[in-house]
Amino acid sequence: MTSATSSTSTETAPKGGRLNGGATRAAVGKVGYGLFGALLVVVLWFLIAVTGVVGNGLVPRPDEVAVAMWQRFAHSGLLFDLRVSVTRVLIGVAVGCLIALPVGFLLAWYPRIRAVFEPLVNFFRALPPIALIPLVIVYFGIGELARISILVYASFFAAVVVLYEGISSLDPIYVRAARALGATSWEVFSRCVAPASVPHLFTALRVALGVSWATLVAAELIAASRGLGAVIQTAGNFFQIPDIYVGIILIGCCALVMDYLLKVIQARATKWQERTQR
């Protein structure tokens, strides 16, 4: 009971330690639930494959896909494909977000710049990267540059919107408070706007990662011989259905793992943030 004492310094406040312990337990529990969800899907998939109710009997069983995955890892350098794709996505997201960061600040901070560029951003954001592939081939050829520029494009436009919406949602009271304490414009930016934007940067990174993985196959359509997108393409061309599944599952898993890692880093970097727990 905390209400028994009466001096001014005894107001109750949640204990940090207990809160964090609970959060960790909740996170572990969440992973457990997630695995359970995955198991459900695998079981359902197995039933569909065995009974053949959909897909004209062309749905491979999960164990067939697992064997195909093993074979590919062992004999046809799937690990290399995986690495190539991960590298492309990482470069695309890094470059895209690096450009999106200053642009996001500019759009959030200067209403006039925002008025000029916001419609353009929304215009380009709406274009599916696949639609741009012919143009990319014309201007950048069919090399690595072409593939990565598609990913940069996709992650830039995904990130920039999250960033400027987030940054412009900063409560102006903090800017006022900093100014009243004597902060210069630069100090308002570096000591208030920047730290307050860190959570939005993480959200932007996560959105950009998601979009980039989704765009990967499109990017690797551009005459790529390696990469998970290329694996799916070739498997499709040769009607190796289990191999198509292998590519799709690996892309999903990579996206999942990266998102999870980012979430963990984010939780550590923004310990100060209030989160609604449900």
Binding site: T8, A13, A177, A196, W272
Partner: protein, 264 residues
Amino acid sequence: MTHENVIVFDDVVRQFKRGRDTLRVLDGCRFSIPRGEFVSVIGPSGCGKSTLLNLAAGFDQADRGRVLIEGETVRGPDARRGVVFQQYAIFPWLTVRQNIAFGLTLRASRRSKESREKVTEQYIDLMGLRGFEDSYPKELSGGMRQRVAIARAYATDPHVLLMDEPFAALDAQTREQMQELLHEIQLRERRSVMFITHSVEEAIFLSHRVVVLTNRPTRVREIVEIPIPMPRQADTRLTSEFVELRRHLEHLLREEATNTRRVA
């Protein structure tokens, strides 16, 4: 040169555009706050109390008239005026200690590391925040957050403190504790304070004098001296003198709340 009156509102007019109309909020406000005095401003809801404070803080500019602080016209916010907001406005990404030290670490403050640390630790103790100095604001109750905000404002040693209903969001009990704490600090530090509130009791308890504003368009209705000697204690609130002042001020407020003036 010492200025007898640290804050001067000289015939201040402020109006806002609202659609096609202009809404005149302040209509020639005129009062001043002497050095070292704690002055509260009360008035009916929406009469422009916070507008007055924003003008004094430099967040806003008067359409006519002048706001002088230590003889200088206010042109924008700066570190000579500390502001405490109703919504606390302490930085959620900084710990209690970092929040209190914020103003001291800005370029404008020019302090050595030692003096910075000394002042910060002193205010952590003074505000009863010891044990919470490394906590983030999300871990604090409303009363503690406001203590951090007050400490942050005092730490930069401003000549003038402007407080905009700082205790309005607190529960009644915490609120009284905070009033007593602020009173103690005021007796110790003798700053010039402009304190906006809608609580008559709070105004009387803390102040040397209380400025009562009229309804919109707002002028000064009356300036009431509070002759109750300081230091004041919790039971000061129960004395007949206190109750009498309270009756008078509440009467003025009620009259103003029902009285809509016309623009001349």
